[in-house]
Amino acid sequence: MNTSRDPDRLISTFLAEGQTELPDRAFDAVRSEIDRTRQRVVIGPWRTPHMNTLAKLATAAAAVAVVAIVGYNLLPANRGVGGGPASSPSLSPTPQPSPSTTPAAAMPPPGPLSVGTYTIVVEGIPASFSVPAPGWAIDRFGSIGFGEGDFGQPDSAGLNFWQSAPENVYADPCAHTPLSPLPAASAAGLAAAAATIPGTDLITGPSAVTVGGHPAQHVVFTIREDIACDPKEFYLWYDESTGGASGGWRWGSELGSTHQVWIIDVDGVVVWIDSETFKGGKLDLDQQIQQIVDSIQFE
């Protein structure tokens, strides 16, 4: 052997050898399997852009904060019909008075929500809500969803309690251009902004309603079918305080999906709740969502 030969070239030549075609039987097997395999649900308003490693680390830290902030501190408060929430994902005994300092470990593990009442902490305010029917679950981001395995499909839904309320909407949802100047940081100001996001069709609102005995604004709209981008790239509103530029934001999951927003003024603190349901569903999930919202109590 001539040792003057380039070993790297030999290694590359060695690696160039070998099979390069996947047999048809493998493609057929994959096709057969995907026909039987449901895609995993991804629920939640959070989005992480592609970043370098350093930014990933920064965002990982931010994500811990987001988890802590969104931090549903679920605690079964009342065993409702249909079996108590014994399998509730969280058995944390005490609500955290200051979610911004709540360690990530306080976040309950994802899992199904049994019918019953749960205490939570939102914007640092102890609160509770009730799950009216089976089928709801909490995901790893702290979002509440219906239709595990089928999020985005007709009979599925998502519901989010934002601990730190979004402070702005997107003036150009496809280009991700925020509205400028910022809307007034009040329930009315934010609801007015949410009701006028381009690419959406307003159904109702802003309407003055009451949630948990507090004044609130309610907006309902759908994502238009003719938006100029993928609905997952169609950004609605965001909260920078939960992680700076990598903070949480909400996008439209599917064309034609219905979004509801409740912006509640709890003694001067803005609490933001939003939901999404999808066209063509047979279950009246909007009604169940309304039942959940109607059940909310602030302490």
Binding site: L15, Q153, K232
Partner: protein
């Protein structure tokens, strides 16, 4: 076109995913074959990776990065397949050789055998780094991104793997002279 198929597949379109799989499957097979050095294991790993990709596709945030994302899944599938069938690995078959030795006439069958033996002694993680760097042609930073490991780890694995392979070639080069000395 790939982006459009990814978008459709993310919406649950099985036909689109099938087309996508046929678009990227051969490349996945080539990578898996080179990491695992066994066509049957590689085929199983690719199948597993494609099924995982289908199941997890909605979590893919950047549709344009489908292939790098899939390659990470594939690499993990290769690791899992090798570990699951470790006993089979002990009886690994020699890869069917489809390429000729033509591109580099100095690359002898003996070289190949030496490299094959040395390559099999590498860890799967070292093999993966070698394959993505030398075969796929990615720079170190992209290998790190694709395998989701630090650049320093890529460099370290690449260094140790390359040293091992070079050593196998150099040992091969020394063998004749040693024999001659013994003969002398």
């Amino acid at each position: 076109m790939q982006r459009a198929l990814v978008d459709r597949a993310k919406r649950g379109d099985g036909e689109a995913f099938d087309a996508l799989a046929r678009m990227v499957g051969d490349r996945c097979m080539a990578i898996a074959c080179r990491i695992l050095r066994d066509a049957d294991l590689a085929e199983d790993a690719v199948q597993a990776a494609l099924i995982t990709a289908w199941r997890e596709l909605r979590a893919l945030r950047e549709p344009d990065r489908f292939e790098p994302w899939l390659h990470r899944i594939l690499t993990n599938a290769c690791y899992a397949e090798a570990r699951r069938r470790r006993r089979s690995l002990a009886e690994i078959r020699v890869l069917p050789v489809e390429a000729t030795y033509g591109p580099d006439e100095t690359f002898t069958i003996h070289d190949r055998d030496q490299l094959e033996r040395a390559f099999r002694r590498l860890t799967l993680e070292q093999r993966a780094v070698l394959v993505f760097h030398h075969y796929v042609g990615l720079p170190v930073s992209e290998v790190a991104d694709r395998l989701d490991i630090p650049i320093g780890t890529v460099k370290s694995r690449l260094h140790h793997a390359t040293v091992a392979l070079r050593a196998s070639l150099e040992a091969d080069a020394r063998t004749p002279s040693i024999s001659q000395e013994r003969l002398a």
